[in-house]
């Protein structure tokens, strides 16, 4: 789970620089909405202009938490793929795969 936290912060910082904080907040809101369609518990994901917090998600089981976090991140990546180009999204997806494999 620690890796997901790092991943979300990295994504937040790098993507915010690329697309601006206003669009980033919209991407995050959209990703959380998408995730909530699958997992009601995604409501526990929090974010603001300072960053993303998965702390409240950790009250769930570790497996469930990682499942939701992964879905959330994949939703972000999918949106970014359309917004900033397939190449960056692919890089992020590869990174996610690495993280998922390590965890």
């Amino acid at each position: 789970m620690h890796r997901y936290k790092e991943m979300t912060m990295e994504i937040f910082q790098s993507v915010t620089q690329a697309i601006g904080i206003h669009a980033m907040l919209l991407v995050l809101e959209h990703a959380r909405w998408k995730t909530r369609q699958q997992y009601e518990e995604a409501a526990l994901i929090e974010f603001s202009e300072e960053g993303i917090s998965l702390v409240r998600l950790e009250q769930l089981s570790p497996e469930k938490t990682e499942e939701i976090a992964h879905f959330f991140l994949m939703s972000i990546v999918a949106t970014l793929g359309r917004l900033v180009g397939i190449q960056i999204a692919s890089q992020l997806t590869e990174q996610l795969k690495v993280y998922a494999g390590e965890s």
Partner: protein, 729 residues
């Protein structure tokens, strides 16, 4: 992703499948979900995959068999396919997520024990699943609208930046709107074309740029668009390959409206930015706007000319590129308005006189920058200087005329006396004339000093004077004046107390007033002098039987150089007034009841206590004549009894004769030994200290002064302060 595939993904969400499994288990049914999107059907899910009792697998249903019955009617249908009983129940749907059907079958081993019937449980399953579908859809819609609101909120945040003077806002807003369209529609790209009916503003593309361009050029691929006009602004917004058409169209319309609004705001701002320099450019004063970072953001034309000596283009430069005292205020980040005067601003190698002002520009109590106004007053200053010079010349000329007039009078009187002497044969008839002539000659000498009364104080030599005797003494002089007019003059006196007066100055005053009365009475007129006592004052009235005063004349009588006479200088009455004021008295001239005019001179006499000292209101002990004299005059005019001294030693000479209630002193009071002397000599007096500057305040506090008066003196305020002090006594 194809439309049916997208819809299937939605209905295969963990939440939906989990609910479906619970329903199937609870009702002991095998439930299969069928999704219809347009004319496409798909089996989505069935549960349980095997019989919970015997663990034997449950086969998938044959979709084509079911489709026929679904297409034929939209209600619950009971089917028997190859001996297996099925109930097909519609769960409703929406354009975004298609129509749903649930197919209910008995579980292999439980069908006989199950109760109620398959149909009854299928209807129950339909109700439960329909309700849950509604809840999911409402949650979905709510989330979608919440996302739209978020997008609009973010747009508003950027638009607000426009008000903070940020640049390129339009591009930022459009970029965000295009991003929002891609995010919210799950689209591959978006674009905006904007402008007016005549002029194209631009084309911006977001996402898959190539495919969007292809679509715009040749309509390749699917896209939804919205076009909207608002006033002159026209916006065409497009979303390429959106996941859902209906929802996207609503979103497009919403965002297109937002775009026109933003264009309108941008247009207004551009207009404002265009108008502002025009307005400020027309202002004669130099206007400089400085940002909160101390950078010059705007200068008007006047500022460029006045301040742009070293750096003609001041915009973008630090505030001290326009050097002046205002730079320090900005460096110190002043939060209040500061103003001042500068007489050494150099513009094109010329010294300029300027008034300047720095005002903070506050945004919600935070400093957003500063406005510097610099007003070039050089021309005004030069004009004022020229006017002052002209005025001084005029005054000098008038004074010269007045001097001649005033000198002529005593010389004329002396001449008249000499003529009278020539006519008298017996020496005893001219006894005393020589003294009068000498006095008039002395008066000529004194007159030069008397003139100075108008502008600066003359030294008075006061002595106890019996006014009644004094009038008798100068009666021949007055009669001589009356002879010139062939007029009659009458003098009536009563016993009155002595006053302190300078006989020389007083002769001048009485003569001026009598001459004025004789002038008014005209030839063969009558003038009556009456001396009486009223309260603590001696009253001298001089009444004539002339035509009286017009409204215009009565308001200007004591104004220097105002005269109604052909050869008058207009200084007779002002000099008389100055002398009376100098003696602590007052003078008025008004129309007398029954005709003519009456001049009333009121002079205070001081009641002696214990046969030694006289109570007076104020002792002014100030070294500076230009400060002492006007203070004294102002207080006397206000009705206070006042004596004055140039320094402490002079004031101490008066201690045997006067007992002041208020002592006004300058810096002498800051000397410790003087403080002791003053408090010992006049222990009851309330002391007013005149402060040179702020540094003297500390000394005065040590000296236990009653009141501190700062320079320049506000005489009206001083009178009020003295009155208050006397009231307290």
């Amino acid at each position: 992703m194809g439309s049916l595939a997208r819809v299937k993904k939605y209905w295969e969400s963990k939440r939906w499948t989990s609910f479906l499994e619970s329903t199937a288990a609870g009702l002991q049914l095998n439930l299969t979900l069928i999704i219809q999107y347009g004319n496409d059907f798909s089996l989505s899910f069935h549960h349980p995959p095997y019989c919970p009792a015997c663990r034997s697998p449950i086969a998938d249903i044959n979709l084509p068999d079911i489709i026929i019955s679904i297409k034929s009617q939209n209600e619950i249908v009971e089917l028997d396919i190859d001996g297996v009983k099925l109930v097909v129940a519609p769960l409703g749907g929406d354009p975004c997520h298609g129509n749903l059907y649930v197919v209910a079958r008995e579980l292999t081993c439980c069908k006989k024990a199950a109760h109620p019937t398959l149909l009854e449980r299928a209807v129950l399953a339909q109700k439960l699943l329909t309700s849950f579908r509604h809840a999911l859809n409402e949650g979905f819609e709510g989330g979608r609208l919440s996302l739209q609101l978020s997008a609009l909120r973010q747009v508003k945040n950027i638009v607000l930046s426009l008000f903070n003077g940020e640049e390129n806002i339009l591009a930022q807003v459009f970029d965000l709107i295009l991003s929002a369209l891609i995010i919210l529609s799950d689209a591959q790209g978006s674009w905006i074309e904007y402008g007016t009916a005549e002029v194209s503003g631009g084309l911006l593309i977001k996402g898959d740029e190539q495919r969007v361009k292809n679509h715009i050029a040749s309509h390749a691929g699917h896209a939804d668009t919205a076009e909207i006009s608002n006033g002159e602004n026209r916006v065409r917004l497009g979303v390429f390959a959106p996941a859902d058409g209906k929802q996207t169209q609503d979103l497009l319309n919403l965002m297109a409206q937002e775009c026109t609004l933003v264009l309108e705001i941008d247009h207004l701002f551009k207009l404002l930015h265009k108008q502002l320099p025009m307005i400020l450019g027309a202002v004669g004063s130099a206007v400089v706007l400085v940002s909160k970072d101390g950078i010059i953001t705007y200068v008007n034309h006047a500022a460029e000319l006045l301040l742009g000596g070293k750096a003609p283009n001041l915009i973008g430069e630090p505030a001290d590129a326009a050097p002046g005292p205002w730079s320090a205020c900005i460096q110190e980040k002043t939060s209040r308005r500061v103003s001042g005067h500068m007489d050494n601003l150099i513009q094109k190698q010329e010294l300029r006189w300027v008034n300047w002002q720095v005002s903070p520009l506050l945004d919600d109590e935070q400093i957003a920058g500063w406005l510097v106004l610099v007003d070039d007053r050089t021309d005004h200053h030069n004009w004022q200087e020229a006017a002052r010079r002209a005025e001084r010349l005029a005054v000098t000329a008038a004074l010269a005329g007045s001097l001649a007039h005033e000198l002529r009078n005593p010389l004329g009187a002396a001449k008249g006396m000499l003529q009278l002497i020539g006519r008298k044969e017996k020496p005893e008839q001219v006894k005393g004339y020589a003294d009068l002539i000498l006095r008039e000659i002395d008066r000529v000498t004194n007159l030069l000093n008397e003139f100075l009364l108008l502008g600066r104080p003359a030294e008075m030599t006061t002595e106890p004077l019996d006014l009644a005797a004094f009038l008798q003494e100068i009666t021949p002089l007055l009669k001589s004046e009356a002879n010139n007019y062939e007029a009659d003059i009458f003098i009536k006196t009563e016993e009155i107390p002595m006053i302190n007066a300078d006989p020389g100055q007083f002769t001048q005053a009485v003569l001026n007033l009598v001459r004025n009365a004789l002038d008014a009475a005209g030839r063969r007129g009558r003038v009556l002098l009456n001396l009486s006592k009223s309260g603590n004052n001696v009253i001298l009235t001089i009444k004539d039987n002339g035509p009286g005063l017009s409204a215009k004349v009565s308001g200007n009588l004591f104004k220097p150089f105002f005269t109604t006479k052909e050869r008058g200088t207009g200084l007779g009455l002002p000099v008389a007034q100055a002398i009376v004021h100098n003696h602590g008295g007052n003078i008025t001239i008004e129309n007398a009841p029954g005709g003519g005019a009456i001049c009333q001179v009121t002079l205070p006499f001081y009641a002696r206590q214990d046969g030694k000292t006289t109570d007076i209101d104020v002792l002014v002990t100030v070294a500076d004549n230009l400060l002492r004299y006007p203070s004294e005059q102002a207080l006397r005019t206000a009705g206070f009894s006042v004596i004055s001294a140039a320094d402490l030693s002079e004031a101490l000479l008066l201690k045997e004769r006067y007992c002041p209630a208020v002592l006004i002193a300058d810096k002498i009071i800051s000397e410790p030994q003087n403080i002791e002397i003053i408090s010992r000599t006049w222990p009851q007096a309330k002391t007013f200290a005149i402060a040179e500057d702020e540094h003297f305040h500390e000394h005065f506090i040590e000296a236990n002064v009653f009141q501190i008066v700062t320079k320049p003196l506000d005489y009206v305020r001083l009178i009020g302060q003295v009155r208050k002090a006397l009231n307290e006594i």
